[in-house]
Structures are given as C-alpha cells and as structure tokens.
C-alpha cells in the first residue's frame, strides 16, 4: 500500500510538514555539527612535533596550511609561526607577525554579543580568541626579543608596553575579582628586560634599579637578580674594554590546552544559572552531565636549565625569569569557573531548543525519539576551546656575563639537576666594548636540534 493510500489528505499534509521541519532541523544541526568536533589541540599536534624534531621549514609549511584552512585558529597559529621565524633567524618577520597578533588581541578584548550568541548554539570555538593574559604579556616579551635580534630600534618601546599591559591586566583583574589575588602574577622577565635596556644606556641606572627591584620582589630567591641590583646601585654596566652577553634560554616544552570532560562545580553552576536566567524563562537542571572544557597540559621535561661556557671557561647556569607553566596554570584556574559556566549554559540552551522544537511539531513517538537523538548528537559535537600559543617554552631563563670585547665561542649545555643531559652546542659570538650582545637558544628537551640565534649573527657571518 502506498503512503497516499494509507493516510488521509490532512494526515499526509501534517506528516509532510513534520518531515519538512525535521529536515530543516537536521540541516541546522548539520551546519552546527561541522563547526564542532575538531579542536585546535588536535590540529596543532603535527606542527608541534615537527618543531620539536627541529624540522623548522616543515613546521612552518604545516602551520601556514593550518592558518589558511582554519580562520579561527589564525592568530594563535601566527604566534607559533613567529616563534619558528625567530628561531630560524628571521627576527624581522617574527616581529611583524607578533605585532599583528598584539593589535588583534587588543581589538578582541572588547566583547562581541554576536559571537557570544553564536557560541551558545555551537561552542566556545566560535568566539574569536583574544588570548590569555600571560600570552598578551609574552607577545610583548617576544616582540622585544625579536627587535633586539635584528635592529633593537623598538625594543625599549616594547618593554614599556610590557609594563603598561601588566598594569592594565592587573586593574582588570582587580575589577573582576574585587582585588588583585594570588592568581594575578606579572612576569618578572618584562621588568628585567626594561632594567637591562636602561642599564645599557650607561646613564639611567636609577631606572635599572627600579625595574630589577620589582623583578626581585617577584623572585626573592633569585641570586643573579641581587647581583644585578648591587651592580646598578654602585657599579657600572661593564668595565672599559668589556661588553656584556645576555643568554636567553627557552627551556622545556611549554603548556598547551587539551580537552577534558568535567563535572560542573557549584560555583560554576551558580554563574551558569545567571547566564541561563538572562537568556530566557529557563531554570538550571539540578544535575548536569559532564561537559567538555579545556585544561592545561604540561609535558614532562628532562632539562631544567642551561650551562654556559665561554671559550671553555665555565660561567654558570641560566636562571628562571618567567615560569610560563606556573603562569598558564594559575591564569587558567582563575578563569575555570567561567569556562565551565558557559559550557553548562550552552547545554541548557541546546536542551531547551530541542524541547521547544519538539513541542512545536507535536509529540509523535518516533519523531520525538529522532529529535532527542539529534539533540544528543548536537551536544556531542561540542568541543572545548583549546586554542593557545602552542610553541611556548616551559621556562624562560637568562644569564648575564661580562666578557672582553672581541670574538668568542659560546657553549651551551642542557642541564638537569646541574648535570649535563645532552650534547653541548656552540656558536661564535662577537662582543662589542660597552654594548650588549643577545643570544637566544631553545632546549625543549635534552636532545633538541633547534638553533642558537645571536643578535649580531649577520655581521659575524659577513666578516667570516
């Protein structure tokens, strides 16, 4: 028997309308499905592995493809590309990319209700990524380093921007949380770099003292900072005929975000209840199934600092000035409840949408089951927003050493508990009387193959 024969006209019309509605809903869900599922952490894993294997060109190609294919990932991918540029000797390109992302993040600090609304129907990945607080500071730190590695013209401006951003973020944190809590931790490295550049003027020692003292107040156990303070209070930048080498060591693999299933906390449910109440006449259900949120993952490290030798004379190990792991974890903890609350509110909105759609189309058994299944599938496609600056080190460490002007050989050795754990790397450096020479090295692990960059490398290569 054909359907035409089986159902009267009115019933056929009703079924056809239901099918049409169902089709529309299915089409909507399909669109929403396409926006979910895949996360940045999955997409970035291949370029990250290539980077740590030392295949910088392959990593760059992979990141460029990712930036082209995923519009929402573009800013964080550009940050990763800037790191690749910096380590492959293209400091100017790195600076341009970092500047672009800095300006984008500053613009994205303003809320967009349109994006917020869309994210309620999809997931947090639909929102433009405005960067974590620590990333905003580190962008300016890397800008300063990039500038120092090619011409240094804007380095001092970037260090001032580090301080401005610190102040701005601190004020915003205080507005959000009543006062500056332990979660808000400025990076000592920014103040250190400002002090370093002011000391290099051979005139503004007072500025150097002020900045080193701020850095020392954040790292009270750092002996090298106390030496720095002592030097700028009563000594000079360097003795006549000598120059200074600063080694910036990027140590370990940095933190990145991964997706986890989480049971909402009572604090998060309270925030979610406020969001849901603002959206419509809905109440939060007493229990909510686990939701997907980002979490911070920090890979284990087999390097804790870098030992420095110059012309076979041991100088000492680098010391930490930016514990990025600790910073990322504390920043995440400060915002965790808001992230969970958004996910809970999204869950409620989706459930309410399915219920409203079911009510509008009647309560036929099979259709209702189909719509419930579609609703479950819709919720299942939700993915956590794991976008982050993925190619950061775990720690940024510095060593300052005063050496006679001229050409020297710099040797770097990865250390774990003060014992060498990998092969030594070396690079020629040229030290200029009364000036600073900057060296950047990266040791993601003991067997890393990435390069060592020197601020006057081009000059050295041309003279050799």
């Amino acid at each position: 028997m054909t359907p035409r024969a089986r159902y009267p006209f009115k019933a056929r019309l009703s079924l056809s309308l239901h099918n049409q509605n169902l089709g529309n809903l299915a089409a909507c869900l399909l669109v929403l499905l396409l926006t979910g599922c895949s996360t940045h952490s999955k997409r970035i894993s291949q370029p990250r592995n290539l980077f740590y294997d030392g295949q910088l060109q392959a990593c760059r190609d992979s990141l460029e493809n990712l930036a082209k294919s995923n519009r929402h990932d573009r800013d964080v991918v550009n940050l990763d590309l800037a790191v690749v540029d910096l380590l492959s000797g293209q400091a100017k390109q790195a600076e341009i990319k970092l500047r672009d992302v800095r300006d984008r993040f500053d613009h994205l600090e303003q809320d967009s209700l349109a994006e917020k609304t869309i994210s309620m129907w999809t997931d947090d990945q639909a929102r433009s990524y405005a960067g974590e607080d620590y990333e905003k500071i580190l962008i300016r730190v890397f800008l300063s380093l990039s500038s120092l590695m090619h011409d240094g013209v804007d380095a001092e401006s970037y260090t001032l921007q580090i301080q401005d951003k610190h102040e701005e973020l601190g004020q915003r944190f205080a507005e959000r949380n009543g006062n500056k809590g332990p979660e808000y931790q400025p990076l000592p490295l920014g103040f250190y770099m400002r002090g370093m550049l002011r000391e290099a003027t051979l005139r503004d020692y007072d500025d150097a003292v002020r900045n080193y003292e701020i850095a020392a107040s954040m790292l009270p156990n750092s002996q090298p900072l106390l030496w720095d303070i002592n030097r700028v209070k009563s000594g000079v930048h360097s003795q006549p005929g000598q120059g200074v080498v600063y080694v910036f060591a990027m140590v370990g693999r940095g933190p990145y975000k991964v997706e986890v299933a989480e049971q909402p906390t009572s604090d998060a449910l309270l925030i979610a209840d406020r969001i849901v109440s603002a959206v419509g006449p809905y109440k939060l259900p007493p229990t909510v199934a686990p939701i997907k949120i980002p979490d911070i993952a920090v890979p284990p490290s087999d390097v804790d600092c870098v030992g420095i030798r110059i012309d076979n004379s041991p100088i000492g190990p680098t010391s930490s000035l930016a514990n990025i792991e600790q910073l990322a974890v504390s920043t995440y903890r400060a915002n965790r409840n808001s992230i969970i609350a958004r996910a809970v509110a999204r869950r409620v909105v989706k459930k309410a949408t399915v219920v409203a759609a079911k009510n509008s189309m009647g309560k036929e058994g099979l259709t209702a089951v189909g719509m419930d299944l579609a609703g479950i599938a819709w919720e299942a496609t939700e993915a956590a927003d794991t976008r982050c600056w993925g190619l950061l080190p775990r720690d940024i460490q510095v060593l300052r050493v005063e050496v006679p002007a001229g050409d020297h050989q710099l040797h770097l050795n990865p250390l774990l508990g003060n014992r060498p754990v990998g092969p030594s790397k070396s690079t020629p450096i040229r030290v200029v009387d009364g000036l600073n020479t900057y060296v950047i090295c990266w040791f993601p692990d003991a067997r890393s193959v990435s390069q060592i960059m020197c601020s006057n490398r081009a000059e050295l290569l041309s003279s050799n």
């Binding site: 809320d111 051979l202 005139r203 009364g434």
Partner: protein
Amino acid sequence: MHRRNWLKSISVITIAGMTGCRGYQYGHVIKPTAENMVGSHEAGAEVFDPLIDEAVAKLLARQNIVTDDCPLGPNGLPMKKSICFVGIENKSAEDIGDFKDKIYNQIDSKILESTCFQSMSKRMVDAGLHETRMRPDALLLPDNMRLFTAVLERNGAPVDYLLYAQLTSGTTKRNSSTQRDYELTLELVNVHTGMNDKLSSEVRKGYHKTAGGKFWNYNPLKR
C-alpha cells in the same frame, strides 16, 4: 505559550547580538593651545611641562647675569657657557616610563634656545660616559670630573658646567585621597671651580577615589 516565550528570548538574543559589535579606536590631533589631559593615577604632561618651564626659566634667569669674569667673544659679547647635561635621576614614587627621554629633550632644547648657554650633544655625552665607563653620579668626584671633561675636550667639546636633573616626590595621604608634590631640581656644577647652583620647581597634585574628593579636601572652608 511556551513557544512564544522561546521566540521572545531568541529575538532578545538576536537583537543583542546585532547591537553588540566590537568598536574601533579613534585618534585626534590636539591643538597646541588646548590644555593637557590630567592623569588619574600618576603624573603626566600636566605636571612635567610646568615643572620644566619653571625650573629652566629660573636657571636661565640666574645664570644670565653677566659678571666681570665672563670671557668675551670676538664680537665683544660674553661667550656662551658650555653645558653638559648629564641626565635625569628619577627619585619619585612613580615610574615615569617614556617621559624620561622627553623631559631630557625638553630641558636640553630650552637651554639651547637661551643666549647664555650652549648645550652639548647628548650623543657626545653618551660617548664620554661610554669611554670613561663612569656612572653619572660619580662624575662629581674631582678626579672623575677631570677625567670626564678631559675626554670631552679631547673629542672637541670643552665643557664649563655639568647639569643634573632630579625628579622627587612627596606623598600625603588622607583616607581615600592622596596629595603628591612633584619637584624637579636642576643642579649646575662649575667644572672649573667646583661650585654648584641649585634650582627647583614644584607642582602639587591630588588623587581621589571619589568624584567629590577634590571638593572635600580642597574647599576654602576646610581648616
């Protein structure tokens, strides 16, 4: 009823979404005659500009007095005194950030405009500091001063005076209001005699956590 409520909430979200767009940033050029913006948390142009104007004017007025021992130039007029502006020391409670180099250039330019002084190039002073590796504050010791001026003279820049600028502050607190007194001191040291001259200017500024703080603390009926 349920559907109507749902549609209502959807419309609210949509309207809110359409109105909540990210804005742009705008800039404008400030006319030279317009007043400076007054910093809400720390000193800015509204403090440093009058401090510099007053301190330099006082310095020039006092040093403009021509005495018998002033050497005369070929045209019979007193020769300009050569000043080496060593630097600014910030001893105030605030970080002056990018204002430091601006203050230096402002003072330097005003001295250059005067008829009694000629200021030495900052690059020449930097070269002298680089060569001798002396701290600016160590130049006041007689031996260091002799060495430093000898280096400058050898480089073709004889010097008569060393000029130091120092920015200091004093803070008075009263509940949620704060008064900060900013002082700029210019110290002129004669490298031939070792004698010094000191001038200063002051600007006071109040910071308040409430809009009525200014009236409450500074009204004429107070005290």
